[in-house]
Amino acid sequence: MSDQQKSDIDEATGTEFVGHEWDGIEELNTPLPRWWLWTFYATIAWSLVYVVLYPAWPLVSSATQGVLGWSSRGELAKDIQSAEASRQEVFDQIAAIELANLPDNPALMQQAVAGGAAAFKVNCVQCHGAGAAGYKEYGYPNLNDDDWIWGGDLNEIEYTLNHGIRWDGSDETRLAYMPAFEDIFDRDQVDALANHVLSLSAKAESSAAGAELYAQNCAACHQPNGAGDPIQGAPALNDAIWLYGGDIANIRQQIKAPRHGVMPGWQNRLDPVTIKMLAAYVHSRGGGEEIEAPADVVAETDTQEIASAAEAGGDGKS
């Protein structure tokens, strides 16, 4: 290639060399196609149009706005608005339906559960945890299991959500206080009672003294067999689930100086549809109970209607 180094012209193409050479490979001064030049001018023209139409030049605290008034934040607001508009129909349907009838409409129930899951992540996870499993250390209850202090059907869950528990913001809040027995029982009595409580779920031996103390002081709310009473908010003592822990030390402490958790009511902070959806979500976590037909309804309706109502409830059981 020594000839070519001296020559200005490449023999094969008739094009000038630019004079750069790498290991015998030389660069040719091949002209660009003219349409390429026009494309380049077109991009310049487009950039001028763009600068006028869209936000472009950075200024001190913002940028030039552009004639179209477009902004990425505005775009986001529009997207959120259209997402909300697309959800509105479902919201309206949920608003129109009785919560108790929601399980009869599986598609709507599914939407409600999904909406409730989203609302739960924003409003509830701070105490109940992302998986709704609660925190035993603080007495935040687990919402996945089948143990409900205040009742676990859709209506009861909605009521709890609306009015809270021991919450001073609502006159209708769930209210129940267990008396402290610290100054009433002596040490042996507390021990005997704690053992009797554990014996209800066959975890300890009861004693005559313990059984007597329980019958006199506890059975009124917690029931003689320890099944508890959701109407009074008295927890069941005969199952495997303990809000504050099921060992003897915790039970003893709960007898002497009970801890009482507080849950705020949400009726003034969330709209009714969101609360309905939250109730559906909590109910769907796997431990929700069926709505039982109240006793006075049983008296008034014939059995066939009750059977069909129960069936309807059963279909929607999550």
Binding site: D3, E16, R34, A240, K317
Partner: protein
């Protein structure tokens, strides 16, 4: 590129009675060779910074390669325009379009094959096959893709026929190009560009029909009810077809397309390419000159037919170059001239560089197909075929029932009132048949008394196995709750999904059961 090795190689054989040694000696005195420094250097041409496009006006030609090109054009354009209109009955639960890319529902239908997103490896396999197919074709027959099947080539060819229909053949078109604008020229250009535009619109319009039900979309499109994306896509593709096929043409191949560069790197001296046999053609001279000095001139009579038929406007006699798409129309042109003047065909021909060199040193010409018989071709065919066969096997043996399981991790387990332990799982049940199917979910490997219920089957109906209906062509998401009795424990187990139809397809996935002691 003039290969000096070929030119300078001493020739000791005579293949057809011509004095090739003399021809080769003469050819080294050609003007081209002179530029290498044998004669005084010519003055550098005036160089422009930017080069105006030189219009290419191809001359009509007929011959085997032109007919092959017609055939390929007919087949490819027919496939492109007609395919979306083919119907294929898949029953009431799936579209009846033979080829459909259903982006909204994430399905790809091709006759009896239906690809789901989780089977994307079929598409990946096809891309790998396309890659190896490119190696195969390029190493065997050079830039055959460029010459015959590339959309840019096919549509450029089509548009050049439109040119010929309106403006006449090469010379008439060149005259019209130079002619001043008048009513006649405006009328011709207007009607020609209208036809360009119509072809472009049909081309852009056919594209969108692959992505939705063709007859419905067709009606929607013309009644203004189609999606904005449909109109935008058609507008863009109409514009690019009009511009690239009608005006840019060979500029796309020469300046825009990366393919020529990639393919040029994949060729070797054993690949079949369109070559001008300079050892036979040089020195060029007209028939009259050759009559006067029979020993001086080669077979090329410098009629420039090869240049005038070339769709990219190059001169193949300058050797291999990026502008050559190997469409072989110059072979047709040259063969016809050689026949007319009574010289053997194949002055321009499909040949390998190796074969050219052998022929120039006097060895007899070999049939072109023999160049295909070499290990590289067979290895590519083997690999290509192996992937194809294994994909067909996978396609033929795949089942249309599928389950995937993801256990809840927060919380991992749940203690129930009665001391039993519950775990929750999200199941994805896929029914890849175009009809609803009953499927049974069974638990394998859990202790006696384990029960399952779901978000639609209540706790009161909890059983070790459950039957659910999975809609046609869908993935059903089921939340499953499993409880094992107090005192038992479990670790690994499987969900087993069985279709309750005559196929009784079965799929299973193993997962874990979390217990309080595990954490």
């Amino acid at each position: 590129m003039e290969n000096p090795d070929i030119l300078d190689k001493p020739s000791d054989g005579k293949s057809d009675g011509r004095d090739w040694v003399a021809a080769l000696t003469q050819s080294s005195q050609s003007p081209k060779a002179a530029a290498r420094g044998l004669s005084p250097k010519p003055a550098p041409p005036h160089l422009e910074l930017y080069e105006k496009r030189k219009s290419v006006h191809t001359k009509r030609i007929d011959g085997p390669f032109r007919r092959f090109k017609w055939f390929v054009m007919l087949v490819t354009l027919t496939i492109y325009y007609v395919t979306p209109w083919l119907r294929w009955d898949r029953g009431p639960f799936a579209p009846d379009q033979a080829v459909l890319i259903d982006l909204a529902h994430r399905r790809f239908y091709m006759f009896d094959i239906e690809i789901w997103p989780h089977e994307f490896y079929f598409v990946a396999g096809m891309l790998i096959m396309a890659g190896i197919g490119l190696f195969l074709v390029t190493s065997a027959v050079g830039r055959a893709w460029c010459g015959y099947a590339c959309p840019q080539t096919v549509w450029t060819d089509l548009f050049q026929h439109v040119d010929r229909f309106f403006d006449g053949d090469r010379n008439a078109r060149m005259r019209l190009d130079k002619a001043p604008w008048g009513p006649g020229k405006i009328a011709r250009r207007g009607s020609k560009w209208t036809v360009y535009l119509l072809i472009s619109m049909v081309t852009g319009g056919a594209w969108i029909l692959y992505f939705a039900d063709a007859p419905t979309l067709f009606v929607d499109f013309f009644t203004g009810q189609a999606d904005f994306v449909a109109y935008a896509t058609v507008a863009i593709l109409t514009g690019t077809t009009f511009w690239l096929g009608g005006f840019m043409r060979e500029q796309v191949c020469i300046y825009m397309c990366p393919w020529p560069r990639i393919q040029a790197a994949m060729l070797d001296e054993k690949s079949l390419i369109v070559t001008y046999k300079d050892w036979r053609g040089e020195e060029r001279g007209s028939l009259k000159k050759a009559e006067r000095e029979p020993n001086r001139y080669g077979d090329c009579i410098d009629c420039k037919e090869c240049v005038s038929v070339c769709p990219t406007g190059i001169d193949i006699r300058e050797g291999q170059q990026i502008g050559c798409i190997t469409c072989a129309l110059c072979i047709d042109a040259c063969d016809r001239v050689m026949k007319d003047i009574g010289r053997p065909r194949g002055l321009i021909d499909y040949a390998t560089l190796e074969q050219c060199e052998a022929e120039s040193s006097g060895e007899p010409a070999q049939p072109a197909w023999k160049a295909l018989l070499r290990p590289r071709t067979f290895i590519y065919v083997g690999v290509w075929g192996a992937i194809g066969v294994s994909m067909l096997f996978a396609l033929g043996t795949r089942i249309h029932t599928d389950i995937t399981v993801s256990p809840d991790r927060n919380p991992p387990y749940m203690l129930m009132k009665d001391g039993s332990v519950r775990n929750s799982y999200t199941l994805r049940l896929r029914n890849m048949e175009a009809r609803p199917r009953e499927m049974e979910i069974a638990l394998v490997g859990l202790p006696e008394g384990a029960k399952m219920w779901t978000d639609t089957i209540g706790l009161d109906a909890a059983e070790p196995r459950q039957t659910v209906e999975v809609p046609a062509n869908e993935t059903k998401i089921v939340r499953a709750y499993i409880v094992i009795p107090k005192g038992t424990s479990a670790e690994e187990f499987s969900f087993q999904l069985t279709s309750l139809d005559e196929q009784t397809e079965q799929d299973a996935q193993e997962t874990t059961f979390a217990m309080p002691g595990d954490f």
